[in-house]
Symmetry: C2
Subunit: 218 residues, 2 copies
């Protein structure tokens, strides 16, 4: 194995590590919401700097590899894609923080209703994240296409949650502020799934050399 191969393997590992930190942040943000645990929410927010640090580290390593290894073709595309993917991962981490902030606020008021669709949405989004990272490191477009298709499920759940909460708000004006915050959490999860979908589109682009859009993949 050449030094460059070793460096690429190391790069992949760091991206996976970053992805797992983001996945844990999403999982714990939803756990803090469901369990009404503001301490856990605070922990997730505190941990975000680890994700940000990895973003910078990976970016620097990619710049270094571009400068000294002058990669061509597939390796070049892999490295430039890695730089973009970490930007998406970093923003997913920020969205987990946003969920935590809403969870802390919601915890200060009585519960509106048990959470059922939000944890389901989160589970799908987490699965999309794990799978798309796998698709990236293994350059597997079939997994990437599968992730893109799952985004529709998340979009449908967002609409369903929205309609249900509008119903709550119409029934009881005292529910409005809490209900809007819950629709925001649904929106954050939708955006997390969108980031996973964007990464999947980049993986297809990296491997097949053509840019697909979510709407076309349907």
């Amino acid at each position: 194995m050449s030094i460059f191969d070793e460096e690429l393997r190391n790069l992949k590992e760091r991206i996976l590590k970053m992805g797992l930190l983001v996945e844990a942040a999403i999982r714990d943000s939803i756990k803090s919401l469901v369990d009404r645990d503001p301490d856990l929410a605070g922990e997730v927010i505190k941990r975000d700097h680890q994700i940000n640090a990895l973003d910078v580290e990976i970016d620097e390593e990619c710049i270094r590899l571009l400068a000294i290894r002058q990669p061509k073709a597939g390796d070049l595309r892999f490295i430039t894609t890695a730089m973009k993917i970490t930007t998406d991962l970093e923003r997913m981490g920020d969205l987990a923080e946003d969920i935590c902030e809403r969870a802390i606020e919601l915890n200060e008021e009585p519960p509106l209703k048990p959470y059922i669709d939000i944890p389901r949405m989160a589970e799908i989004a987490q699965g999309m994240l794990i799978d798309v990272l796998d698709a990236f490191v293994r350059k597997d477009t079939s997994v990437a296409y599968d992730v893109i298709h799952r985004d529709d499920e998340v979009d449908n759940l967002t609409v369903q949650i929205f309609n249900e909460l509008v119903f709550f708000m119409i029934q009881d004006p005292r529910a409005v502020s809490r209900a809007v915050k819950i629709t925001y959490i649904a929106k954050y999860l939708e955006r997390i799934a969108d980031h996973a979908t964007n990464i999947a589109e980049m993986v297809v682009y990296m491997v097949e050399g053509r840019m697909i859009r979510h709407t076309e993949a349907k």
Copy 2:
């Protein structure tokens, strides 16, 4: 001027062109909302493919320059930053489309109230976009920092709009569905401003070699 200098100049021009298309999309999306003009909203949605095409074109050109020019130091960072910036611009274009979709829906119902804060938010966000592109092509961090600071204004307006609309919803249950859609538009504009802020952070990183976060720049 060397061929490479010429190529870099051409790259900058294409990024500015893409940025202006995105700015026009945001402006027209808000115009379609305020003027209750669904045809204009439809036009913006139709035009989005131009933004997507430029995204792919610029990306390909950056890959080509990395492969054949083997840029170093400042030029290398400029090109990798360009690749990331176009991803942000493309997503800002998608958000303008989202605004148009909500504008079309809102147009099918009676108006809730005159729009005042939403156009103000849009104006700030558009200004941030124009200025951050200028900061990028001129490598001017003082303009980039200024953009980052303006993001707080947008965040404050989002909270203000949210509170006002919650008040509407509490007063009149029939307003709920429309009011929630308007809070979504505020959220889309907030995200557009966030993208401009992200680009500003990348410009600082490109020039100063250090990653700042919105919260630290305050």
